[in-house]
């Protein structure tokens, strides 16, 4: 059992080494005229067997590493994703900004619904409507105060929360 495992390990390691050694080392073609700084020379195979060298823009420099955000475009605009959404927080900021609009509309609708309940439900409907409005307004106040609550937690505990 153990011997089998060692055999497998040995085989895989030697196979990996072999594959690495035979894989083509990247040879960059030489273009004429030479490419600009932000361009890279690349050779393209032609149908008749020969190759053609030409400069390509925006090819990542593998040695220097590259930023994925530079290569994703926003929609059909020419704007890079990295320029608009540089951190997860910038996406969350948009959510926070818009969730208050949605919550305000929901609060408005809930209050109208409660008023309708008072009109249609008599004294029982009045009780229900009171509960509904209390819960809705409390919820909205908690939403509004959420940022402050986290800020207070930050101050009280001393933990740097990302606000």
């Amino acid at each position: 059992m153990k011997i089998n495992l060692i055999k497998k390990l040995f085989t895989s390691i030697s196979l990996l080494t072999l594959l690495l050694s035979i894989s083509a080392t990247p040879v960059f073609a030489a273009c004429n005229p030479p490419c600009a700084a932000n361009e890279r020379c690349k050779s393209f195979p032609l149908p008749d067997g020969t190759t053609k060298e030409s400069c390509v823009k925006n090819v990542p420099n593998a040695a220097a590493g590259f930023n994925l955000g530079d290569f994703f475009k926003l929609g059909k605009t020419n704007q890079n994703v990295i320029d608009v959404y540089d951190t997860p927080a910038s996406l969350l900021n948009i959510v926070v900004r818009n969730i208050f609009v949605i919550a305000g509309l929901l609060l408005f609708g809930t209050i109208i619904f409660a008023g309708f309940k008072i009109i249609s439900g008599g004294s029982k409907g009045y009780e229900e409507a009171k509960n509904i409005i209390t819960i809705a307004v409390t919820g909205f106040l908690i939403m509004f105060a959420a940022y402050w609550i986290v800020q207070i937690v930050e101050v009280v505990t001393g933990v740097p929360i990302l606000l």
Binding site: T87, P88, L92, I152, T157, P160, L162
Partner: protein, 119 residues
């Protein structure tokens, strides 16, 4: 850490309260605005109550029970608004007596290990 995740901005109203209170946590300013609103609402309610009591005084045509009822209503309204107005003074008094600082309750400070707003 914040380089990776970034900074979450305060929602619009929250940010306005924060800047209005001098860059601190604006919840205390918000609470005092709510108190002002409640005080104004109570004042309007007292006004309406006194007007209603006056109407019942006029229309009661001298019956003793409706007269005393209306007088009671007025007295209670005035006592209520008096308590509301005096509540600041009472809070300041309690703060002075128990904590040695009249603003201890009225102007609360939030303190943590690294200080805090007004700390």
């Amino acid at each position: 850490m914040s380089d990776i995740f970034g900074k979450i901005e305060a929602p619009v109203g929250v940010a306005q309260y924060n800047t209005a209170s001098g860059g601190d946590i604006g919840i205390i300013l918000f609470a005092s605005r709510m108190l002002q609103l409640v005080t104004v609402g109570a004042g309007v309610y007292v006004l309406i109550n006194i007007v209603l009591a006056g109407i019942s005084l006029i229309s009661g045509s001298g019956k003793s029970d409706s007269y005393s009822k209306a007088i009671n209503q007025i007295i209670q309204s005035v006592i209520g608004i008096g308590v509301i107005v005096a509540s600041y003074t009472i809070a300041a008094l309690i703060g002075l007596l128990l904590f040695g600082d009249p603003l201890y309750i009225l102007n609360p400070k939030i303190c943590g290990p690294n200080g805090g707003p007004g700390c």
